[in-house]
């Protein structure tokens, strides 16, 4: 890396053009990914992210897909750069998923592609996507019974999947053979590599036209401008030190109320987030990997800034992050972590926002809901001889209230923030032996406040399978609802009940495997709402009247 004398930054117009161009490249890569991916989780739920990093692995531009990936991508580029120092050549394709080597959790596979200009490495084109299956003990990667990472799926440290523009077919076969859905994983991997190559193809003419050095100077200038933008915002907040905490329900192994604690110190135009006081790591999969924790902190910070701030390395420079290995937010190598992109990511964000409510109340927002997944598998009389697996994305939790107004109803969790789509009820009934008796807002589920939270959803689902089914759960938030802030109330926690046809019923826990479900049983989901913002007594009476008229309470 020639670090001697940085070339002069380009003129402001070229800078603006390059800034727009780099953002358009990641957007175009995202479009390509969306259109070519094979599995539903990618082409419908958009659980993928695209980033360009420079040769120093600094995040330059990222497509807005899933917020929880926002700060995580450079760690992947960094892991490749370190492991292959001095051996990276044009045409190489790198892959990783290991949360202890540049990844966030095992289902997220990341393709990292070097981009060369004038004979030297200039950029990394990075594509991360959530895969439908990565092996391990349970279908789909979420294994609440895992006590070590090897039970969660195949670990891939940074590997060179191919060179000279080609791919190692034997390696590829080894990888997909270790998953239950080899064809999906292969199809999605191809889509990822295609998107990453598109990034390379679009950067090449830019490098040729402007020259590698001038591009580098432009990138540095773009990052500096974003840094200045973020610092200007932070500088307007009062100095001080605040603490906030949020709780995980449990780790699935009997340990409850696991605390994530944030101490946030704001001085001048910088912010220090110290998570060291968080509880020790857990037995089950709610631990966070280091990169995921860094990403969750970056996500919380991004939520507090103006949405127009470019999400790049510069914007996150005002942020200093301190954490301790061995805690729930940074587990030691070997611990299971699959749940971490939702839990404990959500709790990390919430602890930070709760600390910041006193610092920048106009920017802080009430808590967004928690993720509580259910998957049901069984047989369908209409398709004899085939089993079905249905993943619940319906009855989503509510978003938090804020200075902007009441929270968004059924828009989901902190980590997706309205980015995950639930499927059509008609389509689900046509494809699965399920009958949706009710799928509506759950009145009263939101935390009250000057601006209340959004409503959670309610689902009454009748199972019409051919013979018994089994269900698994994975998630959190049945004990702790989304936090209210500044005097706003917490949203209701999740409450899922399985009602058997014989009239008996039981409350579902958030981390169960092998739940017996019989035809005629009903799953009654009452999803939590978002947290309120500001004291309820300050709520505009006209809004109260509207809530009553519209049946929101």
């Amino acid at each position: 890396m020639p670090d001697a004398k940085p070339p002069a930054p380009p003129d402001p117009v070229t800078l603006a053009v390059l800034d727009a161009r780099l953002r358009a490249i990641v957007e175009e890569m995202g479009e390509a990914m969306l259109r070519t991916s094979y599995s539903q989780i990618l082409n419908s739920s958009r659980d993928f992210s695209i980033a360009l990093c420079d040769s120093r692995c600094r995040l330059v531009a990222q497509a807005d897909h899933i917020p929880v990936h926002v700060g995580a991508m450079p760690w992947a580029a960094r892991a490749v750069a370190e492991d292959f120092a001095g051996q990276v050549r044009p045409g190489d394709t790198f892959l990783l998923n290991d949360p202890y080597h540049g990844g966030s959790h095992l289902p997220d596979l990341t393709i990292v592609l070097p981009v060369f200009g004038e004979g030297a490495l200039r950029f990394w084109s990075v594509v991360r996507a959530h895969h439908t299956d990565v092996g391990g003990a349970t279908h789909g990667g979420y294994n609440p019974g895992a006590t070590e990472i090897w039970q969660e799926g195949i670990r891939i440290p940074p590997i060179r999947l191919g060179e000279g523009g080609g791919l190692r077919e034997d390696l590829l076969r080894m990888l997909v053979t270790n998953t239950r859905l080899a064809r999906d994983v292969r199809g999605d991997l191809m889509a990822m590599i295609g998107a990453a190559r598109l990034g390379e193809a679009r950067l090449a003419p830019l490098l040729a036209r402007h020259g590698a050095e001038a591009m580098e100077a432009a990138v540095s200038a773009i990052l500096d401008l974003s840094e200045a933008h973020a610092r200007r915002i932070v500088a307007a907040w009062p100095d001080g030190e605040w603490t906030g905490e949020a709780f995980l329900d449990d780790d699935g192994f009997g340990r409850t109320d696991i605390a994530i604690r944030a101490r946030v110190t704001k001085r001048g135009d910088g912010l220090r987030v110290d998570l060291s006081d968080s509880d020790p790591q857990a037995t089950g999969f709610v631990n966070s990997s280091y990169a995921n924790m860094r990403s969750a902190v970056a996500m919380a910070f991004a939520f507090l800034l103006d949405p127009e701030v470019s999400k790049n390395d510069g914007a996150f420079r005002p942020l200093e992050v301190i954490a301790r290995e061995g805690t729930i937010v940074w587990a030691r190598e070997g611990a299971p972590v699959t749940m971490c992109t939702s839990h404990c990511s959500n709790e990390i964000v919430e602890a930070i926002i709760r600390a910041m409510q006193h610092c920048c109340p106009e920017r802080a927002m009430g808590g967004w809901g928690r993720r509580f997944r259910v998957a049901i598998t069984g047989r369908d009389a209409r398709r004899p001889g085939r089993s079905f697996v249905w993943h619940m994305f319906h009855a989503r939790p509510g978003g938090g209230g804020s200075s902007g107004g009441d929270g968004w109803s059924t828009a989901g969790e902190w980590h997706s923030a309205g980015g995950l789509k639930f499927g059509s009820v008609e389509m689900a009934e046509a494809r699965f032996p399920l009958h949706f008796e009710r799928h509506e807002f759950l009145p009263g589920s939101a935390g009250d406040g000057q601006h209340r939270g959004g409503l959670g959803g309610e689902l009454v689902l009748r199972v019409e399978s051919d013979g018994p089914c089994r269900a698994n759960t994975a998630g959190d938030g049945a004990r702790h609802g989304a936090a209210g802030i500044l005097g706003g109330r917490d949203g209701a926690p999740h409450h899922y009940v399985l009602r058997h046809a014989d009239g008996t019923e039981r409350v579902l826990r958030t981390k169960e495997v092998g739940i017996a479900v019989a035809p005629g049983d009903r799953l009654h989901v009452r999803a939590g709402g978002g947290g309120g913002w500001g004291p309820p007594e300050r709520r505009d009476p006209a809004l109260r009247e509207r809530d009553a008229r519209e049946g929101y309470v």
């Binding site: 117009v13 398709r383 109803s409 989901g412 059509s424 009958h435 049946g551």
Partner: protein, 700 residues
């Protein structure tokens, strides 16, 4: 001519024999101006303009028609008496949605599912803006009234329509004074009888209300798309039908006896009655004319692969025409509301001639999305605007003639433009001309990026396409945008400023029918497939025959996907041997091929699911003849102007666009001006005037 039953000449198939003194008129209502184009029997085109009148667009339309009559030396009554066809592009539905000024709409919906349109599938725009307020639903929850009834996915009745709950809901509708009612029941695409029974009961109880059923608007599976489209129809229906009735009345009063057509979002036209019934289908009526024009020009020899680039004051519309056909899609939202009808795949960028250049919050130069609009307009309009716009930058750079804007009807204030640009330039540490060049360059780069994203989304590499620039502002940017994209050809019609209105006259009648077919199996048997498409085609033809008796063709298509995929792919089914063997196999093969073309791969051996069958019924309307441009003497430059280009300052010759002789070549740098358009040719651009009326630019 017989009475104004909205059918007129077309009905009796007399269109091909256009009277020698007859006119056809296209009317495009834009944000600032209403453009009116008249085409005479010999193909002569005349453009007139009038200020748009947002409160009642029909006033501007009548004024525009009056101006056209004047330009032709006729009275309005004379012109209208001689007019055989008026095609109208309206923004009434669009504006009602954007400004949230639609009807008081209610919804009757399946009990237990009344929040479908407000849940929005769990999606929220602006991923990092958690303080963004949630939108108000078009139909508030208190007016989404549950009715006890339920169908199953296979069309079987789980719960019969409950008369008592229907009565309760209707009583509530009456009490609330609902002006429009959307009837949205689950699985109604399978069997519309519950919806129909409810609609009849509502129509009896509220005789004046606009009543619309989801199974009629969009008989397709996926309740959010169907309900949302139907809710939009209810929301805009009363305004659109009132407006069209008013316009029709005014035209008849003024002496018009022909048919009034409306151009719809899919680019086809329909008589006013049909447009009022499916008002949501007019949501993209405005920009549809430009795409129709591109298709027509492609047919006239321009070439079949075009990127349309319609640059106006506040926004720019981009669409693709490939192989002479405009791309259609169903992923459209207007004003944040999902409309799942087949519509032209138009991408709108929030930047145009009026876009304001400013220093963004991050400290970089930015253009748009804020626009100076019509009021105050760019600084150079001298109406009080002080912020620099793209138009101001173009004036500072010498690209525009201050004395020749809108044919000299508006004089531009160059000093005001310079002041506005200089202010921003000082903050950037640049000379005013350098800043203006930067604004120009940045807006070009943004346009090019918009085209790239629009084309990759459709699996198309634009480099083999020509850029077709039109709308008031495109001529100054077209060749730079094309070059930025690596295109080798840009085209600007002489008629660029009125091209949308012109395009409306080139469209065919079109009616879309579709039906979801999803069942337990992925693909129906051959006999069932044949019967299904035949039934849809019969349905479409029957409806078309209600108002047209000319030649009708039917285009078949299908939405298909692989087993576990969620997105369907629209597959055109031309080339299928419908009576041949293995029809299902042919459809599968067509899908594999389409998937490969779009996404670079296919999965032979994987289950293929047919989700929707669709038929577009098209009634060909005779196209106006093309007036041949008379041979003329080579035009000489009328002036020279100092222009600032990236390559430096140049003395560019200025040509009159309409004076250019057929095949006359013009080398850049040069300016080619008409009353409504200026084309900037840069160094290396080699233009040729095409005898059919467009400037064809090869990019060096």
């Amino acid at each position: 001519m017989p009475a104004s039953d909205g059918r007129g000449a077309e009905r009796r198939g007399e269109l091909n024999r256009m009277r020698s003194d007859a006119y056809r008129i296209g009317v495009d209502v834009g944000g600032t101006f209403t453009d009116v184009v008249g085409i005479a029997a010999d193909g002569t085109e005349t453009l007139a303009k009038a200020p748009s009148t947002p409160a009642d667009q029909s006033e501007g339309v009548i004024a525009g028609l009056g101006n056209l009559a004047e330009a032709l030396g006729l009275t309005l009554a004379e012109l209208l008496r001689r007019t055989e066809r008026i095609v109208h592009g309206t923004t009434v539905a669009t504006n009602a949605l954007l400004e949230r000024r639609g009807a008081k709409a209610a919804m009757l919906t399946t009990e237990g599912h009344r929040d479908v349109i407000e849940m929005r599938e769990g999606l929220k725009p602006e991923r990092y803006d958690l303080r963004l307020p949630a939108p108000e639903p078009l139909v508030p929850r208190s007016l989404r009234l549950p009715v006890r009834e339920r169908l199953r996915a296979d069309g079987g009745v789980e719960t019969p329509l409950d008369a008592a709950s229907l009565d309760t809901a209707i009583a509530r509708l009456r009490e609330a004074g609902a002006e429009a009612v959307a009837i949205c029941f689950l699985h109604s695409w399978r069997d519309p009888s519950h919806e129909q029974a409810a609609a009849e009961a509502v129509a009896r109880a509220l005789p004046g209300a606009y009543v619309t059923c989801s199974a009629e608007v969009l008989p397709q599976i996926k309740e959010f798309e169907r309900f949302s489209t139907t809710a939009v129809n209810a929301y805009v229906g009363p305004a659109v039908s009132r407006y069209l009735a008013r316009l029709k009345g005014r035209l008849e009063e003024a002496g018009y006896r022909g048919t009034l057509f409306v151009i719809l979002s899919h680019g086809g036209v329909a008589p006013v009655e049909e447009a009022a019934r499916l008002a949501v289908g007019t949501a993209l009526s405005g920009p549809a004319g430009g795409v129709a024009a591109a298709v027509a020009l492609a047919r006239q020899g321009l070439g079949g692969d075009l990127v349309t680039f319609d640059m106006g004051g506040t926004s720019t519309d981009i669409a693709l025409v490939a192989g002479g056909e405009a791309a259609l899609g169903r992923g459209r939202s207007v004003g944040g509301e999902r409309i799942a009808l087949e519509s032209l795949d138009i991408v709108t960028l929030g930047a145009g001639g009026g876009s304001i250049a400013h220093l963004g919050p991050g400290g970089t130069l930015q253009v748009g999305p804020r626009s100076a609009g019509a009021v105050p307009g760019p600084a150079c309009y001298g109406q009080g605007g002080t912020e620099p716009t793209v138009t101001d930058a173009n004036l500072v750079l010498g690209y525009l003639d201050p004395a020749n804007f809108l044919g000299g009807r508006k004089r531009l204030d160059a000093a005001a433009a310079e002041r506005a640009v200089a202010g921003l330039a000082a903050r950037l540490g640049l000379a005013p001309e350098a800043c203006a060049a930067g604004i120009h360059r940045l807006v070009n780069a943004r346009m090019a990026d918009g085209v790239r994203v629009a084309t990759v989304r459709r699996g198309v590499d634009p480099r083999g396409f020509a850029l077709l620039g039109f709308g008031g502002a495109a001529g100054l940017h077209a060749t730079a945008v094309a070059r930025e994209l690596g295109l080798r050809r840009a085209v600007v019609p002489l008629f660029a400023a009125g091209l949308s209105a012109w395009g409306m006259l080139q469209s065919d009648l079109r009616y879309e029918v579709s039906q979801s077919v999803i069942g337990a199996g992925g693909m129906p048997e051959d006999a069932e497939l044949r019967a299904l498409f035949e039934r849809l085609e019969r349905q479409g033809r029957a409806r078309m025959e209600g108002w047209y008796s000319g030649e009708v063709t039917a285009l078949r298509g299908a939405d298909m996907r692989y087993g576990e995929q969620v997105f369907e792919v629209a597959v055109p089914l031309d080339g299928i041997a419908w009576d041949g063997p293995d029809l299902a196999g042919q459809l599968r093969a067509a899908f594999h091929a389409r998937h490969r073309a779009l996404f670079t791969y296919d999965l032979p051996g994987e289950e293929v699911v047919l989700v929707n069958a669709r038929v577009a019924v098209v009634g060909r309307l005779p196209q106006p003849p093309v007036a041949a441009r008379p041979a003329a003497a080579r035009a000489e430059p009328v002036a020279r102007r100092r222009v600032w280009l990236e390559e430096g300052v140049a003395e560019a010759p200025v040509f009159r666009f309409e004076a250019l002789a057929p095949d006359q070549a013009v080398q850049g740098p040069a300016l080619v001006e008409s009353a409504t358009t200026t084309v900037l040719l840069r160094p290396g651009d080699a233009a040729r005037m095409d005898g059919r009326g467009w400037l064809d630019v090869a990019l060096g």
